[in-house]
């Protein structure tokens, strides 16, 4: 655990020093400009738009970081051989990989945390109430980011960086349109039901994590709903990270 924490600490430090968190500036600009421009609209409308915009930006920036930083998390270390002297020390490959995952997970937590504060600050500055239900959507976004990091990590270990980036992006997009996959049977009539189920299980269902509209438009999101998506994220991420660990154990570091 101590070694996992050491690797995670360094991965977080890397994100900070390599200016990954600079995306917060863009977020701040979006929030400020939208706050200024939307003052003309009616009170109910501008609050909804700001919430919608804030959550969408959080989702977009988070996904871009999870995807592109996630792909390079271990593959960059393999390419540059910077992990050779580390793996000669008493840290196992499993610990190294888990530490990297935890490090980026923490970076994303900080990122999402700052953006959440920014979103609430904008709402309060415009005199709109701080709706606590927003936190449920933020939590779901964060879970989706962890799933994305796990996928990026696995694919970067078993393929090249470019293939991993493209395939993770495809999976993220496919997972956001999983309702289309659900209707694949109608589009491809001969497709067996088991194949459809297999595709549904393999591709992460990112729609599960999309609570933005429900929260913004005041629908109830129960603790049961949150529990279910947490369990889904844990199972999916756990499986993908386990596969990544197995693949990394077998990877030759030439």
């Amino acid at each position: 655990m101590r070694r996992v924490a050491a690797v995670a600490r360094n991965a977080f430090r890397e994100s900070v020093r390599e200016r990954v968190l600079y995306n917060l500036l863009f977020f701040a600009v979006i929030m400020t400009v939208s706050g200024l421009l939307l003052g003309e609209l009616s009170i109910r409308q501008d609050a909804k738009i700001i919430k919608d915009l804030g959550l969408a930006a959080m989702d977009l920036f988070g996904t871009l970081i999870a995807l592109f930083v996630g792909v390079g998390l271990v593959s960059k270390e393999i390419e540059r051989r910077s992990l050779h002297p580390l793996l000669a020390k008493p840290v196992s490959r499993d610990e190294f990989l888990l530490g990297k995952f935890a490090g980026l997970g923490f970076t994303l937590l900080v990122n999402v945390g700052f953006m959440t504060v920014g979103l609430y600050a904008t709402l309060l500055a415009l005199g709109r109430g701080a709706d606590p239900a927003l936190l449920k959507a933020v939590f779901a976004i964060y879970l989706a980011l962890l799933v994305t990091v796990a996928l990026a990590l696995l694919l970067s270990i078993v393929t090249s960086t470019v293939v991993a980036s493209v395939s993770t992006l495809c999976l993220v997009i496919a997972g956001r349109y999983s309702d289309v996959i659900l209707n694949l049977g109608d589009v491809v009539p001969g497709m067996p039901a088991w194949a459809l189920r297999a595709v549904m299980v393999l591709i992460p269902n990112f729609r599960n994590f999309d609570l933005k509209d429900r929260v913004v438009y005041g629908d109830t999101v129960s603790l049961g709903d949150l529990g279910w998506i947490t369990a889904y994220a844990a199972a999916y991420t756990g499986t993908v990270i386990t596969l990544a660990v197995i693949a990394f154990r077998r990877r030759e570091l030439t």
Binding site: R13, R17, R80, P85, A88
Partner: protein, 320 residues
């Protein structure tokens, strides 16, 4: 009382890599390498580029996996955490994190060894001083030269006061002062009882430092043992430094095998038995003998002779 196992016991280690677009061919990188390195020795793994030196180190560190054979490191199998707790490793052309300073990197390395904060801080200061990086201790490594990275590489290999240190081309990228400093560090490690296993193709360094060497070629060990076992201690010829002779050596007696000019002086290569006759002949022709030096086989002579031999076996084989 049981005797401590050797620092390194490599048994018939073989490794091949898949190559080509369809990865249908294999290149044999290492073939049945067997070596035993006693504790406290400085052991040199010598060979030209591509001879299998780095592959051997990567196998021992568990970075790649052998096709066959195994090894015990400080009595533990490859990859055992107990062995890695007592190891140090400097990779060839090391790359560290651009965004860290040497002090931060050494702290990170110390954390992986489970050192407490105070010990990490003290050890980092001590090592930075040892490798001459104290003034650059808080500079991000993106501004480092190759030589500075090499120095840091050496420092991070010593964080845990290792019993066994693997150094892959430790002199690479260093200026003469840096190389001298590395030589001194290796000798200091030996004096402290550590075992040093280093790969190099800089033969004078190996000759100066090593108790034992193994010479690799095409993935096979072509010679191993103490230097006095490998090299002939017999005098191969005499070098005679003379002055006052014409540069074409016209009229010199037989016996001078070769010669080279050093300004106005000449260095004559003479078989030991002919020395007396050549000295008399030089003086009869008005020349002066300034120095006479016996010449023994050097590691470089041995290396060049060995590398001139045909390869041990065909290195490229098609996949069966």
């Amino acid at each position: 009382m049981t005797e401590a196992p050797p620092a390194l016991d490599i048994r018939a280690l073989s490794k091949s890599y898949r190559i080509g677009h369809l990865r249908g061919k294999r290149r044999q990188a290492l073939r049945d390498v067997t070596l035993r390195v006693p504790r406290g020795a400085v052991f040199g793994c010598l060979g030209p580029n591509g001879s299998g030196k780095s592959t051997t180190l990567k196998l021992l560190l568990g970075l790649i996996f052998p096709d066959s054979g195994d090894a015990l490191i400080l009595g533990h199998p490859i990859g055992a955490r107990a062995a890695r707790q007592s190891l140090g490793y400097l990779p060839e052309n090391p790359y560290f994190y651009d965004y860290l300073t040497p002090r931060e990197y050494l702290d990170y390395a110390g954390r992986l060894f489970g050192l407490p904060p105070g010990a990490r801080k003290d050890r980092a200061r001590e090592l930075l001083d040892l490798v001459g990086l104290t003034t650059a201790a808080d500079v991000q490594m993106r501004r480092f030269s190759k030589g500075m990275l090499q120095r840091l590489g050496l420092a991070q290999a010593l964080v845990n006061r290792p019993e066994l240190v693997f150094l892959d081309e430790p002199m690479s990228g260093l200026d003469p002062l840096g190389r001298r400093s590395v030589r001194e560090i290796i000798l200091r490690l030996k004096a402290e009882g550590s075992t040093v296993f280093f790969s190099t193709h800089i033969l004078p360094d190996a000759e100066t430092l090593c108790d034992e060497v193994a010479v690799l070629r095409g993935g096979s060990v072509v010679a191993k043992g103490r230097l006095d076992q490998i090299l002939s201690l017999d005098v191969s010829h005499m070098e005679v430094l003379v002055s006052g002779l014409p540069p074409d050596l016209s009229g010199l007696p037989e016996g001078v095998e070769t010669f080279r000019a050093m300004g106005e002086r000449l260095v004559l290569h003479v078989p030991e038995k002919q020395l007396g006759g050549v000295v008399v002949a030089v003086e009869q022709r008005g020349g002066r003998v300034l120095a006479v030096q016996p010449v023994r086989q050097s590691l470089e002579d041995f290396f060049v002779a060995e590398m001139g031999q045909p390869a041990p076996a065909e290195a490229w084989t098609a996949e069966a």
